[in-house]
Symmetry: C2
Subunit: 233 residues, 2 copies
C-alpha cells in the first residue's frame, strides 16, 4: 500500500454545518428585514434543489455553471414558494452568499490543523473557489490549497474531478484519500483508486440520525480529530 | 476606484529566493554525491532555459505541459553541458524537485500573514500546483489558496491566466492586485485592468543590482511587510 500523502475533503456537511449555518443566517436576515417564513424548511428545500440541478449538468442536459449561479437560480423559486415575493434581487444576492458563511463543525478546525502537520489537506468540493476561500477565511480552515470541481468545470461524482485533483497534487490516486460524510462521494473516489475516510455527521440534517456507514471504508471516524489520531497511530 | 480585495503573487523571485535556494540544494547534493561543478552557473543556466521553453508554448510551437516536466527536460541538457553525465535519471528527478524547496525571502512569511488579515492572498505562479503547495508547506507561506497557471494550461503573461485567477476569486480585475518583482508580469496584468504592486528584489540574481522600477506602478515597495504597511495606511 502506498503512503497517504494528501487528504481531500468534501466540505458541505463534512467540514461545515451548512444547515445550522444557513438557518442562523436566514433567521438573522429575516429579523433585520422584518420578514418571516419557515427558514429551516427554506434551507432544506434549497439544499434539495442542488442535486437535480447538478445532475442536469452531469447528464449533459445543462451547461456547466458556477455553483453560486445555480444556487441563485434555485433560490428565486424557493423564495416564491416560501411566500417571500417581496425580496429584491439584491436581497437574493445577499442570501445566496450565506453559503460562504457556513461554520465548521466543532472538531473541524482543530482536526484539519493536526492532519496538515503530516499530509497535504485540500478541499474538494462542488462549491466554487471564491465561496470556499471566503468560508475558509471566516471559519479558520487551514487548507494547503482549495480545490473545487469548478477547476474541472464539472461536479462530483464525475471521475474528472477526483482524478483532476490527484493530478494537480502530483500524486497517484492511491496516495490520496477522499474524506466525506457521504458514501456516494467515497464510492466514486474508491472506484478510481483513491483511499477513503468516512466521517459520520449525524446532525447534518438537523435531527440526530444513525450515521453509521453502510460500507467498509478505509477509515470510519466520528470527527476530523479522530481521523488525525487514527492516521498517527 | 474599487477596493482591493485580493492580492495575487508571483512566486519565484518575488516571494522566494529561487537562486540562493537552488545553489544551496545543489551544493548539498554535490557534496553528498561527491560530484562537483559550477552550481551557481548551473542554477542560472537552468533558470535561463525557462523563458524560451515557455515562449514556445505561448506561441503555439509546443503543447502545454507542467512546468516540472519542462524543467526536467531542460535539466538533462544543462547537466550534460556542466559535465554531469554520470547522474542517473533518479538523480535528475531529485534535483528537479529542488524548486519545491525554494525558501522565502526574509520578509515574505511575515508580510503574507499581515496582508492576509484584510485581503485574500493567493499565489499566481507559472509553478505547478503540487510544487507551490509543497513549497508553501516547507516555507510557511500562508496562502488562502494556490493558483497556478497550470489551472489554465498556459503560462503568464497570457491574459487567460490573470483573468482566470480573477474569475476563480469571483472578483473584477480592478479588485485584484498583481504583486511581482518583474515588470513584464505587472504590465500584462495592468493591461487587463488589475492593480499592480512592484516588489524590489535586488538580490534575485545574486549580485546586488539597482532594482528600482522603470514604470509607475500602483505600489512600489521593497518588501511584503512594506506592502502591508502601505495598504493599511
Amino acid at each position: 500500500m502506498s503512503e497517504i500523502k494528501a487528504l481531500l475533503f468534501d466540505v458541505f456537511g463534512t467540514v461545515v454545518d451548512w444547515r445550522g449555518s444557513l438557518i442562523r443566517e436566514l433567521t438573522a436576515f429575516g429579523k433585520a428585514r422584518d420578514v418571516t417564513t419557515d427558514w429551516a424548511g427554506l434551507a432544506d428545500a434549497w439544499r434539495a434543489a442542488y442535486q437535480p440541478s447538478m445532475r442536469r449538468v452531469l447528464e449533459g442536459q445543462a451547461p456547466w455553471c458556477k455553483l453560486e449561479v445555480m444556487q441563485r437560480r434555485s433560490l428565486e423559486e424557493i423564495c416564491l414558494s416560501h411566500g417571500l415575493s417581496s425580496l429584491s434581487s439584491a436581497d437574493l444576492d445577499e442570501i445566496n452568499r450565506f453559503w460562504r458563511r457556513c461554520r465548521p463543525w466543532p472538531d473541524s478546525v482543530r482536526g484539519l490543523k493536526r492532519l496538515k502537520d503530516k499530509r497535504v489537506v485540500a478541499a474538494l468540493s462542488n462549491g466554487d473557489v471564491a465561496l470556499l476561500v471566503e468560508m475558509a477565511r471566516r471559519g479558520g480552515l487551514a487548507w494547503d490549497t482549495v480545490l473545487s470541481t469548478e477547476l474541472f468545470r464539472s461536479f462530483k461524482p464525475h471521475p474528472s474531478t477526483y482524478l483532476g485533483a490527484c493530478d494537480l497534487l502530483g500524486l497517484q490516486p492511491d496516495e490520496v484519500m477522499m474524506c466525506a460524510a457521504h458514501e456516494m462521494d467515497l464510492a466514486a473516489a474508491r472506484q478510481l483508486g483513491l483511499r477513503t475516510a468516512y466521517i459520520a455527521r449525524p446532525r447534518e440534517y438537523g435531527a440526530l440520525i444513525d450515521a453509521r456507514p453502510t460500507q467498509a471504508w478505509d477509515y470510519s471516524v466520528e470527527s476530523l480529530v479522530e481521523l488525525a489520531e487514527r492516521l498517527e497511530s
